[in-house]
Amino acid sequence: MKYSLALAFLLSITALNSSLFAETTETKARCVYSGTDGNCVQPSLGSTQQLVITVFGQGVAPTVTASPAQAYALAKRAALADGYRQIAERIQGVHIEGYDSVKNMMLQRSNIRTSVDAMVRGTNVLDTTFKEGLCEVELEVVIAYSQLIN
């Protein structure tokens, strides 16, 4: 009886200890960059949080296909590529170049180029719909702070 009471007491102390000091063991989020005032700017994603990014990729079936199944398959490929692009744009960012030529205070030519180059992993296809030649794929990716710093 004595031993069991002592064991229960020890266990309760350990549990209390772990809950009290849980925050201290949490890995501190490092600075993303120093702000204009020199202060550390914390990342928007906390060290224990997870960020879920959901996108809808759209793809169009080719006009000439052997069967409706082929149209669906091809449209789905295009939709996935579009979805992956949106995920990469959100996570990694987009490189944008723009050239505008103005003559006599009038816009002559507007040229904008955007590019994304990324390796995407860990995406889940949540839902796929195909209606009137348009395939829409719902993609989800879950990112955690630990993945970002590694």
Partner: protein
């Protein structure tokens, strides 16, 4: 005593030989690329080739595809491209996207590439099992 040890070694060697035959799998290198222009698929290619050297690494996820008439791996994958593509998208994919907006004209090209990856392929009479081999 010595003869018993020898027979034990023989037994072990025979067991290894049999297990090697049973669990025999060919290593294949597979890569995939798809390009879409203005949200419409314009190019798609799947490269399948037998690996010249054995692939080292741990086996990960696998997929089992039905196989008809002793088809080759490429034919089997082409027959079940939807299933295989779903399996392929669970791995890291490289995306390259370029968009060009000139005045009011908009063009976009997306290229989705599955980098060359080694797979262990087990051929059976009715089905084929493809397993990812991840290098260390």
């Amino acid at each position: 005593m010595r003869s018993r040890t020898r027979s034990c070694y023989r037994l072990l060697a025979t067991y290894q030989l049999i297990s090697a035959f049973i669990l025999y799998a060919d290593d294949y290198l597979i890569s995939y690329r798809a390009s879409s222009l203005n949200s419409r698929l314009v190019h798609e290619n799947l490269w399948v080739s037998k690996s010249m050297t054995p692939c080292l690494g741990n086996r990960h996820r696998s997929i089992t595809l039905l196989r008809d008439n002793n088809n080759t791996l490429k034919t089997t994958i082409n027959n079940h491209e939807e299933e295989f593509f779903n399996f392929l998208t669970q791995q890291p994919l490289h995306l390259k996207s370029n968009q060009h907006i000139l005045n009011d004209k908009h063009n976009s090209i997306e290229t989705l590439t599955s980098p060359t990856q080694c797979y262990a392929v087990d051929f059976n009479d009715d089905f084929v099992t493809i397993t990812i081999i991840a290098s260390h």
